[in-house]
Symmetry: C2
Subunit: 496 residues, 2 copies
C-alpha cells in the first residue's frame, strides 16, 4: 500500500437523514422538517463508545475527511484517518453540515414546505444551541448514548462547548480550539461588516435571489473580510510580503497590484461558487449570539456546573480574532468546577487558521489527549454486582442479560470480596455448588480508577483477563474495565 | 479667561493657495493646477524657524486645531494650542488637506480643467511622495527653509518619513507615530476590501457619480471595516462588551442587536456625509504603494542615509494594524545612519487610534521631545565670520546684510579668538580704529554644541548677551545661538 492509501479514509459519501417532527428553536420557532447531512468514517464499536463528533467551522460542510466522488479532500483530513490523531481504526468519526448551512442540512436555501420555494429570509434565526440540538437528534438516531469525544475549532469550538453545557452526560472528552465562550464585540463587528457587504449587494434582494443572480459581489467581499481575520500579520508577510502580482513595477491604477490582493480576490470568487449568501448571514448571526453566560445573567463557571467531561482547550499564539485569553477564560471556569481540564497552546504564526494548517502540532496534541487515559475515563460504571449469598442462577441470569463474562462480588459496604466468571459457573455446575461464595475467586486482580489505562492493559495481558474490577481510593468497587474499551483508545494492535 | 479659552487657538479658517504650474507626479503624470487647503496657527517668527508641519491621517482635513465657523473642533486639537505639546505660543503650526483628498486640496472630486467636470477616475493615481511634494510647495511659498518639526501618525507618519527622505535638509525634528516604512500586506488587504466595498456599490458607477447619488453604502462599509482596524479587541470590550442596543433581549433577526453594531453603523453613516468615495480609493492606494525600500530595491538604512533630523518614533502597545515591530524597524534603520533617534511606546488599550485619543501621554511625550534641545539642535550654522586682519568696514557691511549684531572672529584654523558686536563698531568709530583685532573682545563667553539649551539661555541671561558663539569639542567655531531660537523652544516667558 502507498502512504496515500494508508492514511486516508478513502472514498466517502455524504448521508442524509430527515426528521419530520423538526425541532423547536431557541427563538421559539418550530422548524420542520429537518434534514441533516453527515458523513461517518471508521466503525462504531459494539457498545457504541468510540464515536467522535467533529464540529464544523463557519463555512465547513460534513465532508471533513477522505475524498468524495467530486475529488474533494475533506476539510480536516490532516487530522482524521487511519493512524492519524483521530484514528479511524479506533474511532467512529461523525461530522455534520450545521443547521442553517447550505450543504445538505436544512438552511435558508432549503425548500419551505409552506411556500414550496426556498426559505430565504423566512428561515428562522438560529443559534449554536439549535445547531447542537439537531446534532443530538442524529447522535440519538445512531444509537450513541455517549460520545467518546467532541472536537471543534472556531464556530466548531462553540458547538463543542454547547455540547458540554447542554448534554454533559453525553460527552466523555472535549477538545475546544481557538474559540470563545462568548463572541467578542470585535468578532461581532467583523461578522456585521460581512453581513452588510451581502445585504448591500442589490442582487441580495432581501434574501430572495434563488431563481435569480445571487449576490456574488457581496458574498465575495464578506469572505475576503473574513479571510483577513483568519490570517495573521506575520503569516501574510511570510506568504505575500509586498510581492507584485504578475508585474515588475506598479501600474498606478486600481487593478490588482499585489499578490495579497490577488489571493483575497481569488478566495472571494472561489467561495461564492460553494456557499449561499443567506447561510452566511444566519451562521454569522448565530456566532454573534453565542454567549454561555447568557449575556452576563450567569457566570461562566455556573454555565459549566454540570460538565463531567475531560477537556482539552487549545489556543493559538498568533490568533487575534480569538486571542488566547478567551481560551484561558474557559479553562478557568471549567477548573472552578473541578473539571479535568488542560490548556495547550499551538505555537504558530498562521493566526486563527492555524488549527486547520498546523498538521504536526495538531496531530501530536490531539492524539496525545485522546489516547492518554486514566482507567476512570473508559471504565464502565453502574455495573451489576453479586453478593456472596446470591445463588448461581442469579449470576447466570445477569451474565446473560448484560452480555458480560465477569461479575464482581461485594459486601454490604461495596467492598470487593471476589469475582465470578462464566467459567466459575461451569465449575459450579460440575461441582454442584449453589452459592456464589462457594465458587468465587477471592484473590482478585484489580485496578485503581486513577491508574493509567496502560497499567490495566498490562495486568490484563499478564493474567490473560478480559475485564478487571476498578476500585476507588477507599477500595470500593466503582466499575469494570474491559479489553474492548482499552482497544478503543490504545488501538487494535494492543491486544494482538 | 476660562480654561477653554486658555488652551484653544480659537476660531480658525482654512486658507487656499493655487499653484497653476502644478506638479509632476511619481507616475509621470503632470497634474495642474494644484490647490492646497491649509490652516495655520501661532506666529511664524522672524527667521521662520518655528514652523511645525502636522501631517494628516487618511481621512483628516486641514482643520487640525481650534474651531471653525461650522463649530467643528480640529481633529488633533488635544495636542495643539496655547501651552499644549505643540504650543502655539512658541510654534507656527501648519496642516494641509492632502493631495487626493476632498477638503479643498486637489483630488478626484476637483474640476478637471480639460473637461470642466470633476476628475473622477481620470484623476491620476498618487503616492505619499506626491503628497509631500505638494506640501513642500506650500512650505516654499510660506518662505520656510527649515521646518522646526514634522509630526504625523498613521498615513501622517508616512508623510513625515517621506519628508525625512526627500527633503532631509528641511526638517529639524520629526515625530513618527504608529506607522510603517512600508505598508504591510495586512494593511493592503484591509485597504483592498474597503475599495472593493466602494467599487461594488452600483452607485459608484466607475467613479462618475458627482451629479448623481454617490456610493454611500459602499463608502460607509469601507469606513466600518477601517474603523474596526483602528480599535483593539480590549478597547471594544471595554467600550461595548456585548451590550444590546436599546433592547433587553435578542430580537433574533438581522436588525441592529449589539451596541458595537450600532456604533459602526453610525460611524459609517456619518462618514459618508463628509468624505468622497473616490478620495478613499486614491488615498488608500497611496498607502498601499508606500515603501521606502522601493519594494526591496534598497534597504531601509539606505533610504535614510541623508537624514539629519532628530527623530522620535512612537509605537502603540495595542496597535495590531501597525504593530510596534514596524516602528522599531524604523528606529533600527535610522540608528544605522547615526541619526539621533528615540523610541517611545504609548501604553494604551485603544489600538491604532490611541495617538488621537491618549491626550495625557501624547502631550507629555511630544512636549518633552519638542522642548528638550541641545544647542546643536537650534543653533544657526553657516554663519559669517571675521578674520583679525579684516577691517571694520567689512564687519559693518556683514552686520547690515545678515541682520546680526554679533560676529565671531576666527583664525585660519577656525579657532575662535574673539567677537565683535555692533557696539564694538561704535567704539571703533569713536576711537578711530580700523582693524578688527583692535576692537574685538578676546575673552568670549561660548557654549558647546552638546550643551543643553538651558545652559546657553542661562549664560545669555547672566551676561545679558543676545547671542553666543557655539564651539565643537575641538574648540572650533560651528555656529551661533541666539535669544530668538531659545525663545522658540523654551517659550516667550523665558526671557521676560
Amino acid at each position: 500500500m502507498s502512504d496515500y492509501e494508508e492514511d486516508t479514509v478513502g472514498l466517502v459519501e455524504t448521508q442524509y437523514i430527515t426528521f419530520e417532527e423538526g425541532v423547536q428553536l431557541t427563538s421559539g420557532f418550530i422548524l420542520k422538517p429537518i434534514t441533516i447531512a453527515y458523513e461517518t468514517y471508521g466503525e462504531l464499536n459494539k457498545d457504541k463508545s468510540n464515536a467522535i463528533l467533529v464540529e464544523p467551522t463557519l463555512t465547513a460542510d460534513a465532508h471533513v475527511a477522505g475524498i468524495n466522488k467530486e475529488g474533494q479532500v475533506g476539510w480536516w483530513d490532516m487530522l482524521i484517518g487511519p493512524n492519524k490523531a483521530i484514528d479511524t481504526y479506533q474511532y467512529f468519526v461523525i461530522c455534520t453540515n450545521v443547521l442553517g448551512g447550505c450543504k445538505g442540512t436544512t438552511g435558508p436555501s432549503s425548500i419551505n414546505p409552506k411556500t414550496k420555494k426556498p426559505y430565504g429570509l423566512d428561515f428562522p434565526v438560529i443559534t449554536i444551541e439549535d445547531m447542537v440540538k439537531v446534532q443530538k437528534m442524529l447522535i440519538d438516531y445512531l444509537g450513541i448514548r455517549k460520545l467518546y469525544a467532541v472536537i471543534g475549532g472556531s464556530m466548531g469550538g462553540m458547538q463543542a462547548l454547547q455540547w458540554l453545557v447542554d448534554y454533559p452526560e453525553y460527552v466523555r472528552k472535549a477538545i475546544i480550539i481557538a474559540t470563545s465562550a462568548r463572541s467578542s464585540p470585535m468578532c461581532i463587528a467583523f461578522n456585521q461588516v460581512g453581513r452588510v457587504a451581502i445585504m448591500s449587494d442589490p442582487n441580495w434582494n432581501g434574501g430572495d435571489y434563488y431563481d435569480k443572480e445571487p449576490p456574488r459581489a457581496g458574498l465575495a467581499l464578506a469572505r475576503m473580510i473574513g479571510h483577513i481575520t483568519y490570517l495573521s500579520d506575520s503569516s501574510m508577510r511570510e506568504k505575500f510580503g509586498r510581492k507584485l502580482q504578475g508585474k515588475e513595477s506598479y501600474g498606478y491604477d486600481f487593478n490588482i497590484e499585489f499578490q495579497v490582493e490577488s489571493y483575497l480576490q481569488y478566495k472571494g470568487a472561489h467561495f461564492v461558487k460553494r456557499f449561499d449568501a443567506n447561510s452566511y448571514l444566519y451562521l454569522t448571526r448565530a456566532v454573534d449570539y453565542f454567549d454561555l453566560t447568557n449575556n452576563g445573567k450567569r457566570s461562566l463557571a455556573e454555565a459549566f456546573k454540570n460538565v463531567k467531561s475531560k477537556v482539552l482547550v487549545i489556543g493559538i499564539t498568533s490568533d487575534w480574532l480569538y486571542p488566547t485569553y478567551q481560551q484561558k477564560e474557559i479553562v478557568l471556569a471549567l477548573s472552578a468546577n473541578n473539571v479535568d481540564v488542560t490548556y495547550q497552546e499551538l505555537e504558530s504564526d498562521y493566526g486563527h487558521d492555524a488549527f486547520l494548517v498546523e498538521k504536526g502540532q495538531m496531530n501530536y496534541i490531539v492524539k496525545n489527549f485522546l489516547s492518554k487515559n486514566k482507567v476512570r475515563d473508559i471504565m464502565m460504571k453502574g455495573i451489576k454486582v453479586l453478593k456472596p449469598e446470591d445463588n448461581i442462577e442469579k449470576a447466570a441470569q445477569i451474565m446473560l442479560n448484560e452480555s458480560v463474562t465477569h461479575l464482581p462480588v461485594v459486601d454490604d459496604d461495596n467492598q470487593l470480596i471476589g469475582i465470578v466468571t462464566s467459567w466459575d459457573l461451569c465449575k459450579a455446575i460440575t461441582g454442584h455448588y449453589s452459592k456464589i461464595e462457594e465458587i468465587m475467586t477471592r484473590n482478585v486482580i484489580t485496578v485503581n480508577l486513577e491508574d493509567d489505562i496502560h497499567v490495566a492493559a498490562n495486568k490484563m495481558k499478564k493474567y490473560d483477563f478480559s475485564a478487571l474490577p476498578v476500585l476507588d481510593n477507599n477500595n470500593k468497587l466503582v466499575g469494570m474495565i474491559n479489553v474492548e474499551a482499552i482497544t478503543t483508545v490504545l488501538g487494535k494492535s494492543y491486544f494482538p
